[in-house]
Amino acid sequence: MNALIIAAVLLVLLGVSYQSGFAKSRGLVTADGVKVHSRPQYHGSYSALWTMIPALAVLLLWFWFGAGITRSYTVGLLPQDVLLSLDQTGLNATLTRINALATGYGVAGEVAPYEQSAGEALRSFNFLTFAGTLVLAVLAGGAGFVYARNRISARLRARNSVERVIGLLLLACSAVAILTTVGIVASLVTEAFKFFTFINPIDFFFGTVWAPNNAGGAANPGKYGLLPLLAGTLMITAIAMLVAVPVGLMAAIYLSQYAPRQFRAVAKPFIEILAGIPTIVFGFFALVTVGPFLRDFGALLGLSVNATSALTAGVVMGIMIIPFVSSLSDDILNQVPRTLRDGAYGLGATQSETIRNVLLPAALPGIVGAFLLAVSRAIGETMIVVLASGNSPVLRGNPLEPVSTITVSIVNQLTGDTDFTGPQSLVGFALGLTLFVVTLCLNIFALYIVRRFREQYE
């Protein structure tokens, strides 16, 4: 109800100020052929902005502080002896009852006289503050409006002002990205630092044993060597890329260069479905289907392959990443100018020669960028690895054996039954921070590569 009234008042303010600015601007034109700098629409928006911003500011202030003020006012209505007799719970209950009385909903049971009077006082207080805020908002808006309207003249650069506000809004939007990063770092750093008060950073970054003692508390935290996790992460990522890059790239080449248009139109989104399947589904696919298959296949070759291993996780993750590589590469290949392709065909190159010798080198920066994006995805992937990697944080080089990764350990340590104040769980934040830094480095590297290639060939 109140919200509706506020919205209506704001709408009226908006409409009036816009129309008035518009009309005044119109009037300028008809006056005597003077050149008006901005169009009436801009003058309208100009005066609307000047009206809405002060009005909204007042409302926001009330929105922010109103609840607290009302509460302390209501508490002040209670008799001293009642107040003293109530604990927090009781006070809350009483306040709720008074509020129910004030809104006219009523309460069940006996109503104490002080409750009755407080309810009535609160009711009028609520009405007065609401009306007061609204009047204040209208006044503030009105003041802004009068100022803006007075300024409207042929020379007023209303368009520039309005566009500056639009520009600021756009800037604010792109600042969200920065804020996100700041937020991520801030929410990781403090906890990560707490972790490093337990564990020496050197032992963390260069340790070769990952054996948190989850029952041990802070006194006996266990070992937190990052290297086994890092090695596992890199191994799985490498295997994933070994699967995704050839398949994805060749699929992209086939789609963009060989396939008939209709086939491409169908096949491309079809493959992209792979990117949208929840990774947990892939995880089970890995555990139930791919893992045993690889084990049996390995047995055929006389290899001992664990059903859950870096290989299994990597292969399935590779499958998941295929669309990233293929879709992005496909777009990039299509952007290579036709003239280059024609140049090679004109020399008598076959299609595959053209692709290999001309198209791919020309598209390389973009493709490398796509690869690195896929690498980041692989590094950050969690669910597949949780299920398929075997969760064995031991430093070893054999991809046929189980490993563990950074993301898995984050999930394990943060969502397990571990002590959340001890290093056992804080390590999750340190790992998150590490992961963030790793992807950051990767991206800076990607940008560098892409720039260098661009410079060379443009």
Binding site: P337, T339, R341, D342, A344, Y345, G346, A349, T350, Q456
Partner: protein, 260 residues
Amino acid sequence: MNPTDFVDRPIRLTARDVTVHYGPKQALHGISIDIPDRAVTSFIGPSGCGKSTFLRCINRMNDTIEGAKVGGRIELDGQDIYAPDLDVVELRARIGMVFQKPNPFPKSIYENVAYGPKIHGIARNKADMDEIVISSLRKAGLFEEVKDRLNEPGTGLSGGQQQRLCIARAIAVGPEVILMDEPCSALDPIATAIIEELIDELRENYTIVIVTHSMQQAARVSQKTAFFHLGNLIEHGDTEDIFTNPVNKQTQDYIMGRIG
């Protein structure tokens, strides 16, 4: 130069009743023409009349365009180039092409020229290749300018140099025919002059077909001229005749309408 020098050159390419459709749209309506050896034939005509389309028929570049269908018959030395058993790759090695916008590969100058010989397996060894590259660059009149930076990217050259690099690249394969589609339209007059001179020299060893939108250029460099209009070949003959004595009313209109 005296046009009669060329009238008796043997015929290298013959086209008979060539039609091209792009999807539903017919771009060429039964073109028949003979193109002589060791002479420059130029195709002129207003924009969109099908000059490039016909040029692309000659080395079957239209194969690479989705939806393009070619009808009729084109022969190179009496051999049907649209015969089913003909190898397009081989054909394109025999008929080279230079495009409107210089399009060097994003590789070094050396690799640009060496690319054709390499894929066709023409050079037997490194020395062979070096020789081919150098002689091609020399024929294209570019060698002196780039000899110190053969390993720098071809894309770093100026427009006129790039176009000559593309010509060198085409020559390196040892083609018999060279097709050029408005090779100077992206170049300034000085670069254009250099390329025109080069074409004049190349004429002695190659059959050259050039598409141009400049009638002066056609007059300057070619011995035979063909005038296209709306997908038809309107008139075709010795350049001198076409420009001074056009038989067809349309040709006349076009040439008189406005020069340049």
